[in-house]
């Protein structure tokens, strides 16, 4: 499923500058597309714009074969799953119930969960190494555990595209690599993945294409080798950065320099 945005411009009410300005993005079916950029560069706004959560001042989004406006929410949720940066957990709820919400869009209003829905929930928890958490109350989870559970909910939707906002931000190395394995595995099954992250090294290693944002505009786009260069990164992040091939993986590796120590 292709995800495409053209000339996306978003302005939050009361904000002097647009949060996104004329951003183009095109994510090929079955590819892993990383979106990078400093804090406040518009990454999360881009996700909301692609999913129709905020109004566009200009531009248009196409999901699959249709413009975004042609999708009903329920239909869209069957095709595209998304994990927002955070959510509220004001009421007691088990992990199984939370992940079970990933099946809502497949059920009629009065229809009960079927065996296949329960199976989808357990499988998704297994893929995120969280099946042992199934009967825990979500309030008792650590930040990283909750994050894995929320990714599991997106997987339980059985979508054809995934959009994730910093999905591995709270995860330890083992679980971060586990989730990246899940995302790579998803692309091999033809699922389109948009991955918002601050993890430049991992993006360089795992993404097929990278979009680099700053102040709501695209500063670089292309393959990891094209985008992850000292020149691009220093300009976008405003910090001296060295880039060299990683001896183990051969992909670009980032080293933030210390200007004071460098003299």
């Amino acid at each position: 499923m292709r995800i495409e945005g053209r000339g996306l411009t978003v302005r939050y009410p009361g904000a002097p500058a647009p949060a996104l300005e004329g951003v183009d993005i095109s994510v090929a079916p079955g590819s892993l597309h990383a979106v990078l950029g400093p804090n406040g560069s518009g990454k999360s706004t881009l996700m909301r714009a692609l999913l129709g959560v905020i109004a566009l001042e200009e531009g248009e989004v196409r999901i699959g074969d249709r413009p975004l406006a042609g999708w009903r929410r329920r239909e869209l949720a069957r095709e595209v799953a998304a994990v927002a940066q955070s959510e509220a957990m004001p009421f007691p709820m088990t992990v199984r119930e939370l992940v079970g919400m990933g099946r809502y869009m497949h059920l009629g209003p009065l229809e009960h969960e079927r065996a296949e829905d329960r199976k989808a929930v357990v499988e998704a928890l297994e893929r995120c190494d969280a099946v042992h958490l199934a009967d825990r109350a979500v309030q008792t989870l650590s930040g990283g555990e909750l994050q894995r559970v929320r990714i599991a909910r997106a997987l339980a939707q059985h979508p054809h595209a995934l959009i994730l906002d910093e999905p591995t931000a709270a995860l330890d190395i083992r679980h971060e690599m586990g989730i990246l394995g899940v995302l790579r595995g998803a692309t091999e099954c033809g699922i389109t993945v948009v991955w918002i992250t601050h993890h430049l090294d991992l993006a360089a290693r795992y993404a097929d294409r990278i979009l680099l944002l700053r102040e709501g505009t695209v500063r670089a786009r292309g393959t990891p080798e094209e985008v992850i260069t000292a020149e691009h990164l220093e300009r976008v992040y405003g910090w001296p950065i060295a880039v060299a091939p990683d001896p183990h993986t051969g992909t670009p590796r980032i080293t933030p320099l210390d200007p004071a120590a460098r003299g």
Partner: protein, 330 residues
């Protein structure tokens, strides 16, 4: 205890409330005589008391309590805050102003089918007003729920003043007392009140129950709910309006009864969890039981004298509100 046994245990409560409500009263009637009447026998004053006084009163408590708890659970899901409740949000106050105004103008009597609609209009005015007041302090379009609750309390206090003023200035002799409207009462309960309250509450309950999954999703956040396929704006407005209508129907019949919508869903969540497919129907049942039991207390604690029912619910509700407030991290 498994979930199933917990449900079974909970269902004993409304059943017990109904039995006690029919058996107990200021007039001592032997249980055997009550049973006799219920089975179609009995005659004279005993029959009148059981069939036309106690029975409708218990049923009215069930319907109103169920409606208030349902409205409370709904507001809490929409605002993602366990403190949200029709009384705290000022919705009940607005409804009472609507009802009192219509009566004072001589347009409707207290047992009018139109009275809930006037109360409904007042409830909607209250909601718009409370959200407007809260939005003044909002940054980036995000309303702080604490400010919203504060606005609800202040607007509610203002509505109380308005009710007192209308009652003081009004010429209408048919008016209930200010205490009736501000602290609630089931003293006027008769079969027509039951019919009015039920005819508004049942369809509204069916509508809200059909949105239970959507409310589950909205309770974790509107953005996530959209990603899960919920038409958030539509569900939000539908649920707000319907919960207000339920509240209004209750207020029109029995005045403002606070805290039912706070106490019942909160206690239920501790026992059965927060899945609205279970929480909403159980709120209806247990809210009804809670109000029926409160009413028994209100009318039997001092024989021959009735305490306003809102006093009883406040005595239970305020401590729970304070506990929740302390624990709330929003």
């Amino acid at each position: 205890m498994t979930r199933r046994t917990r449900f079974a245990a909970l269902l004993v409560v409304p059943a017990a409330a109904v039995v006690l409500g029919v058996l107990l009263g200021s007039e001592p009637i032997a249980p055997g005589a009550v049973l006799d009447v219920l089975l179609g026998g009995g005659a004279g004053p005993i029959r009148t008391i059981v069939i036309d006084v106690r029975l409708p009163r218990v049923l009215l408590a069930l319907v109103l309590g169920g409606g208030l708890a349902l409205a409370g659970a709904t507001f809490q899901a929409l605002l993602r805050n366990p403190l949200a409740e029709p009384y705290i949000l000022g919705v009940s106050g607005g409804a009472a102003v609507g009802a009192v105004t219509l009566i004072a103008l001589g347009v409707a009597s207290t047992t009018s089918w139109a009275l809930p609609l006037a109360a409904f209009a007042g409830a909607l005015v209250a909601i718009v007003l409370v959200f407007r007041v809260a939005a003044v302090g909002a940054r980036g379009g995000h309303i702080d729920v604490r400010v919203l609750l504060l606005a609800g309390v202040v607007v509610g206090a203002f509505f109380s003043a308005v009710i007192a003023m209308i009652l003081a200035l009004s010429q209408a002799r048919t008016l209930q007392s200010a205490v009736f409207w501000m602290m609630g009462s089931l003293t006027t309960a008769g079969w027509s009140e039951v019919a009015i309250a039920a005819s508004y509450t049942f369809p509204a309950a069916a509508l809200l129950l059909s949105q239970a999954r959507a409310l589950n999703a909205i309770a974790v956040g509107e953005e996530s709910a959209l990603y899960l396929g919920v038409e958030v704006e539509r569900v939000k407005w539908l649920a707000l309006v319907v919960a207000s209508l339920v509240t209004a129907a209750g207020v029109a019949v029995a005045g403002i009864i606070g805290f039912v919508g706070l106490v019942v869903p909160h206690l239920l969540r501790l026992v059965i969890g927060a899945d609205h497919r279970v929480l909403l129907p159980m709120s209806i049942l247990m809210g009804g039981a809670f109000l029926a039991l409160s009413d028994i207390l209100a009318r039997t604690i001092r024989p021959g004298l009735e305490i306003p029912i809102g006093v009883v619910t406040a005595f239970v509700g305020v401590p729970i509100f304070l506990v929740l407030l302390r624990r709330s991290t929003v």
